[in-house]
C-alpha cells in the first residue's frame, strides 16, 4: 500500500500521527533490521525484542530525524548498537553465572559438527556466533547488510583500515569454521 511513497513522505505522515505510515516504514525496513540483529544475536527471542526496540527508538526520534543520513543507515546504526549492548549484557549475565560467555554455551563448539544437516542458515549463524562482537559486526554490516567499507566504518565509528583488517581476520576464522561444510 505504501510501496510507492518515499521514506520522507512516510516519515512526514508518521510524524503527523499516521500509524499506517509508520507501519509501512516498519514493513519496508524489517528485513534490513532483521539481517543486522539476527546476524549479531542469532535466532532468539532477544533478537525480536531488539528489532522492536530499534523501531520504537525510531518512532521516538521521528521529530528529530532530519534525514542527514539515509533511514536505512540510521536504523542499522540503532540496531547494531542495541545488539552490541545485548551481547555485552549476555556476556555479563553468563559470566556472572557460568564464568564464560554465552556464545560458547549457545553455539556448538564446532559448526562442522552439523555438516550433514544442510541447514545453511543455521550453520552460518552458528559460525558467525563464534566470532567476537567486533568481528561479527563488520561481517554483518559488510556481507549481510551489504554496506560498503566506508559506510561500515561510519556506522561503527572506526577507521576504514580497522574495518578491513577485522573483515580479513573474521573471514579467515569463518573459513576455518566452515571448511568442511562448504568445502571452502
Amino acid at each position: 500500500m505504501d510501496d510507492h511513497l518515499t521514506d520522507e513522505k512516510l516519515i512526514r505522515q508518521a510524524r503527523e500521527g499516521d500509524d499506517e505510515a509508520f507501519r509501512g516504514l516498519v514493513r519496508r525496513y524489517e528485513s534490513l533490521v532483521a539481517g543486522t540483529v539476527i546476524g549479531m544475536l542469532g535466532q532468539c527471542p532477544e533478537a525480536d525484542d531488539v528489532g522492536q526496540e530499534t523501531f520504537l527508538r525510531l518512532y521516538r526520534s521521528l521529530k528529530n530525524f532530519r534525514g542527514e543520513s539515509k533511514l536505512g543507515t540510521y536504523l542499522t546504526r540503532i540496531a547494531i548498537n542495541l545488539s552490541l549492548n545485548e551481547l555485552k549484557r549476555r556476556k555479563r549475565r553468563m559470566g556472572l553465572f557460568f564464568g564464560k560467555p554465552v556464545e560458547e554455551i549457545r553455539g556448538i563448539a564446532d559448526p562442522r559438527a552439523d555438516a550433514g544437516t544442510n541447514e545453511d542458515k543455521e550453520v552460518v549463524h552458528r559460525a558467525i556466533g563464534q566470532l567476537e562482537a567486533r568481528f561479527r559486526s563488520v561481517i554483518v554490516l559488510r556481507l549481510i547488510d551489504g554496506y560498503s567499507t566506508e559506510e561500515t566504518s561510519k556506522i561503527l565509528k572506526i577507521p576504514v583500515g580497522t574495518v578491513l583488517s577485522r573483515l580479513s581476520r573474521a573471514q579467515k576464522k569463518l573459513k576455518t569454521l566452515l571448511t568442511s561444510y562448504y568445502g571452502a
Partner: protein, 144 residues
C-alpha cells in the same frame, strides 16, 4: 602462499587495492593454482554468508511493533487519561502507605525493644497467666 598476497586477496573483495597491488595480485593469481583455489574458497564463504542470513523476524513483527508503540504512547482520550491518572494516584497512595507501615514498624520495635511480630505491630504481649485469667475463661466456668 605468501602472507602479503593472501592479505591482498582478501582486500580485493572490498575493492581496496591500489593499481600496483591489483597488478601484483593478478600476476600471482595467473601463476598460482593454490591462490586461485583460495580465491574460490573466499567467494564460496562470502556467498554462503550472504545467502545464509536471516531476513525476517517472527511473523506479525510490524503488528508487534505497532502494539508496543501504542502501549508506550501517552493516553489520548479522556477515559484513558482518567484511568492512567487513577493508576498513578493509587501507585502514590500505595507507596506512601508502604512507607508509613515501615516507619511504624521501626518505631514500635525501637519503643518496645521487642523484635517479634507482635512487638513490630505494637500489640501487647500477653502471658499465659493473663490468657487463662481472661473473661472468656470465667464465662466457660460459669457455663460448666
Amino acid at each position: 602462499m605468501k602472507k602479503k598476497i593472501l592479505e591482498l586477496l582478501y582486500l580485493s573483495f572490498d575493492g581496496r587495492l591500489s593499481d600496483e597491488e591489483r597488478r601484483l595480485l593478478e600476476d600471482e593469481l595467473a601463476r598460482s593454482p593454490r591462490l586461485r583455489e583460495e580465491k574460490k574458497r573466499i567467494e564460496t564463504l562470502r556467498g554462503a554468508i550472504e545467502r545464509g542470513a536471516a531476513r525476517s523476524f517472527r511473523p506479525f513483527f510490524a503488528e508487534r511493533v505497532m502494539h508496543a508503540i501504542a502501549a508506550a504512547r501517552p493516553a489520548k482520550n479522556g477515559l484513558e487519561r482518567f484511568a492512567v491518572s487513577l493508576q498513578l494516584a493509587f501507585r502514590r497512595v500505595a507507596l506512601v502507605g508502604a512507607t508509613a507501615i515501615l516507619l511504624l514498624t521501626i518505631f514500635n520495635i525501637v519503643r518496645t525493644g521487642d523484635l517479634s511480630v507482635a512487638g513490630a505491630l505494637g500489640m501487647p504481649q500477653e502471658t499465659l497467666v493473663e490468657v487463662l485469667e481472661s473473661p472468656f475463661d470465667a464465662t466457660v466456668e460459669e457455663l460448666l
